[in-house]
Symmetry: C2
Subunit: 376 residues, 2 copies
Amino acid sequence: MEFWVNRDCFYKAISDVSRAVSAKTSIPILTGIQIIATEEKLTLVGSNSDIFIESNIPMTINNEKILDIFEPGSVIISAKYLIEIVKKLPNDVHVKMNGRQLVTIKSDDIITTLNGFQADDYPKLPRIDEDASVRLSNTELKELINQTTFAVSKNENKPVLTGVYLSFQEKQLTLAATNSHRLAIRKLFIEAYLDGACIVPGTSLNELSKLMQDESGHIHIYITESYITFKSVNMTLYSRLIEGNYPNVLGLLPKDAKTVITIKTSQLLKGIDRASLFAYEGKNNRINIEIEDGSKMRISSNSSEVGKIEELQNIKEINGQRDLNIAFDGRFLMDALKAIKEEEIQLSFGGSMRPVLIEPIGNPNYLHLISPVRTY
Amino acid sequence: MEFWVNRDCFYKAISDVSRAVSAKTSIPILTGIQIIATEEKLTLVGSNSDIFIESNIPMTINNEKILDIFEPGSVIISAKYLIEIVKKLPNDVHVKMNGRQLVTIKSDDIITTLNGFQADDYPKLPRIDEDASVRLSNTELKELINQTTFAVSKNENKPVLTGVYLSFQEKQLTLAATNSHRLAIRKLFIEAYLDGACIVPGTSLNELSKLMQDESGHIHIYITESYITFKSVNMTLYSRLIEGNYPNVLGLLPKDAKTVITIKTSQLLKGIDRASLFAYEGKNNRINIEIEDGSKMRISSNSSEVGKIEELQNIKEINGQRDLNIAFDGRFLMDALKAIKEEEIQLSFGGSMRPVLIEPIGNPNYLHLISPVRTY
């Protein structure tokens, strides 16, 4: 194996695939990045065996030559060292492997030699079923992920809740995430005739969202029995699916409300953020919400040792019963409010022991449901 | 105590004095900030009993009213909560204390109440001897600190080496810092007739440097038996001195050299940085330096398990013996090179077992001495 490659393209690809590589692994070969040089392109793969990230470097970008393959081949090199070396190289990189997995990386007068691993031992990439696919814009997919994934459970005792539920039905894609105290649901109309559902680890979707940070364009989604694949022009992420049955979260949504309030999203977020100051002292980050004089919302928290904070906020509109006294985990409220882009939200309360439904005004495709914490 | 204050000025002062407050302290009152309101100004003090930082807020800045005192008084409030609250307040702040150290902080419709400590229990500020002072520009003082303090020892076994030695002699201020493997010395001509020396904790000087980040203007230095004080217009830092005798570091400087090399500072820094990649694997971060063909410098490091890196750098000028093979701790070389602003440096080697003297070309007031590490 021998090739020459543009330093910046090589570094970007190494950084991207390194995201899948775990520093703490009992399988030494998974600390490495697989490099495959063929006649047409250079492929890099990183994996922790649950996620695979593949990045391809073509021969040219915008008619500019960025890669030259002198001899095809493949090798595994330590991700940690490869990324550190290439980051500090001043210029284009020449990589050559001799017979015994000894890899020489040369740039100007700087020569580095690294011991590689045998490429045959690296895990194989999952297969893609090209027939069943959905096409989304990167922007849409990022928004779907960022508006739901934060709500998954961190607790491994119920594995299905650590994942996001993806369901394709009647031209509609639905993402749902819950930790059994809060629920986020986001829908999107899609142009694909595909039926089915799967549970994708929240960690995989977070990695995907970071990988797509600067990317525009489109992404294709493929689902097989045990893997979901997200494929853009030069980057592919494969994630293992979580097995099990996801709870029927749509059945949880309340049908009626006692008190319905319209309020400004950012104003409420700032108030909850301030009130969280003392909430963190106790359990559950308890924030109290009360209706005062039928037209104001009082947000407060207190810690008997340190002090208390309270503020009054204007309500834009209120319908139904005007007496309300309820407490929530402030973090759950803030996560939900941060994920909403719309200026105003509607809060539907069913009483002090029932969850609140949060819906952005003017967007019927997104909602949050948050359970109260007990006030005694 | 009751006052009104501009939010931004109050937040800046709280942030500044909080630097001296340690979260981990067995003395509860030291987790607080002392607030003193007099007829003329508001004074905030934070301390960990080794350092005191004092910040003053005047009644006006540029003829704009930023403070109004309704009732003088003083109180101690938890630094952690005060900083978090004021950071999140939207507008000017009204602070009022009732009889029992209960402090109310009000901004718009937001009311916070905090339990304070009794102000009498707070440690007293050290006294300043106004007679003996030196005046420096903030820029100069920051440079002096940043060019020496990194070289102090982290090891508490020899307390004097955790401090920077400040000596005032014959219109010259000298700062020296060493961990017994490397030494940094910086001199400055000053306009003060002051004789004496003291050892200032490196941590105090680092705090001072951060405090002065955005400040221009001048600073006055006062020294008493057990404290050094740095005083600018609205900010004062008092630091306890380290007792003991500082080693005679000037006596360590070598008088002659076998090989003298002139080389570009940033080029050498980048080379050492790259070579450090494998140096971190072993002990002492060992970087090897050799003269090759009498005109090039070979910089290398290796790790038997992972690999090796080497590069050849051009030397601008070389005098004396042309055979050299020496090894250093790469971090010490990098720290020294980063602190040098001049484009070129002169390296004076006395042989492979003797320390190297590093001097910036064109600046006789700054030098580094770094001991080699053994190559076997």
